[in-house]
Symmetry: C2
Subunit: 331 residues, 2 copies
């Protein structure tokens, strides 16, 4: 029994200690983005679930249309990161009893828009009243050919490390939304960053195209270094990233030019919902073709080596000391 | 757009208006206990999800071991009601950041005990911190032979109506727990009722044995009449129940003897987690055998007829007027 005076364990320690012993076949030891269970002939289902909470993961006055999209998209990102294609979901809503129908109507309109965009349908769910903040949980199911899911644990030494899109926009957008930064940015730059915070762009077209090409993959939700750390730990390898190669949007570049300490948003801000993956050097051409085909930039940012943990190198090849602020879980 | 001054719609109206248009194949129009999707050869997966909230569905000082069991069992009951066999689940926990590890340890011990009892495993999940009450969501997956799931919509005129176990214990147990009733009961009777409130007994062995025998089935969570109403509406039939036949525990009988108004707990209290099903008169012998085999009493309480809605008849065959108190949704 834990002593009452001991501080609570962190999320990953709690999973390892209390939940991992409960995990069954298909749970991937609770150390990957999804669970995998047998589907119809030749297929597997990939299962994932995420919760977003009013006042924690979104602002109470965020448009309900976008809250719905965020809820669906954070889950779509997990499915994409395994190379799977989403098809249906269960939704549970715990809402204040006073929550009006207008909010719910706009929320479901957001779901409808994203169902069309991403090809998914509602399968079932549960509605509750809560005296607390709105708590929205979605369990998403995807399909992937048996054995083709791209796990965290299968990176190989010598693999290149790639990332889709740009890094840090969401964390910077949250800081703008809170009024912490942004005075030196243009209105267009501020709007761009806040929009990237409010509305994840899951790489749903890119992920499945990388099945059979990528060795290991994860979506960036905890932050670049933290999520690279998950691949390194699961694959028992060492990851090396080159800071100058990290892809930044013009708005992020402008914000960091004014305040270089905001670089922590790039390496650890989280909620990027980009795909971080490793692939052999021989796959470079195939990856470039996929990138063009789906219209999502992909950038090579480092390499996997024998060893453990990871390092971020500057232009001179020196290790960059990274502040922990912005990501709680760091190996 | 709903006018801001209009009262919010009820749960079922919200589902019909906002969520049903989002439902895809397998969702059974969101009017059954589960969704059904294709599984491995010859099988289907039945999917269900339920949320329980601290201070709403359980008391903050309820033993965490039993809270875990309740969360798992309310979902097990839905799977049993389709004649399916459960095998795995996703769990999302939103807990106060100050929630100690001791609580979580006992909670996961409760899960472990029920995993063993019911043959299910943890597949994955999500953990969040919340500033509100603990909000626990579980999505459970069961298996059933293709086409054998027992739906709400397939009752036939002339079917007998059956119910497992006893009715009203949970609602009476909640009233005892709140101190509203119980002074005239023995300590043993009070403990029995409170235990039935705290710890559902999903009919996980009975449900699958009724696949191929029962025409329609539901688990009683909203209350006997409300859930019979769901079968009647889905099957477009009229249900007739005979009040003197409704099975009561000795403790419930004692409570109602003192205060006959507590009969509403039997017909509408909810959270019974018994199975309510219809079957042809020719199945009586098979049902009796299954009841004995699994050790769960089953009682014939009425009949399905042509028409719509339902009626409760007293010993003289007169319609009993039922108070709506205790169940919000009543057809």
């Amino acid at each position: 029994m834990t002593k009452a005076t001991a501080p609570p364990l962190g999320e990953f320690e709690r999973i390892a200690r209390f939940f991992a012993p409960l995990a069954g076949r298909g749970a991937l030891n609770l150390t990957d983005d999804v669970a995998l269970i047998d589907g119809p002939a030749g297929e597997q289902y990939a299962l994932t679930t995420d919760t977003i909470i009013e006042g924690v993961d979104y602002f109470p006055d965020d448009p309900p249309f976008q809250v719905a999209q965020k809820l669906l998209r954070v889950n779509l990102s997990d499915i994409a990161a395994k190379g799977a294609t989403p098809f249906g979901y269960l939704l549970t809503t715990a809402l204040a009893k006073t929550q009006g129908d207008a909010w719910l109507e706009q929320f479901t309109q957001g779901l409808a828009a994203d169902q069309k965009e991403f090809g998914v349908v509602l399968l079932g769910g549960d509605s509750s009243g809560t005296p607390g903040p709105a708590t929205l949980t979605l369990a998403l199911i995807g399909k992937v050919a048996k054995g083709r899911a791209v796990l965290r644990s299968t990176a190989q030494a010598g693999d290149q490390i790639y990332v889709s899109g740009t890094l840090g926009d969401s964390a910077l957008g949250l800081a703008v939304r809170k009024g912490e930064i942004g005075a030196e940015l243009s209105a267009t730059e501020r709007d761009y960053l806040v929009d990237r915070y409010r509305l994840p762009r899951p790489r749903a077209a890119l992920g499945p195209r990388l099945a059979g090409i990528a060795h290991a993959m994860i979506d960036i939700s905890d932050g670049l270094l933290s999520d690279l750390g998950h691949i390194c730990a699961a694959s028992r390898l060492h990851g090396v990233l080159h800071q100058p190669r990290l892809p930044l949007s013009p708005a992020a570049r402008a914000a960091i030019a004014v305040n270089p300490r905001l670089n922590t948003a790039v390496t650890g801000g989280g909620d990027d919902y980009e795909l971080l993956f490793t692939a052999p050097a021989t796959a470079a051409e195939a990856i470039a073709q996929v990138s063009v085909a789906v219209g999502v930039p992909v950038t090579a940012i480092g390499v996997m080596e024998k060893g453990e943990g990871f390092a971020l190198l500057d232009a001179a090849g020196h290790v960059v000391k990274v502040e922990r602020k912005g990501y709680a879980h760091f190996s």
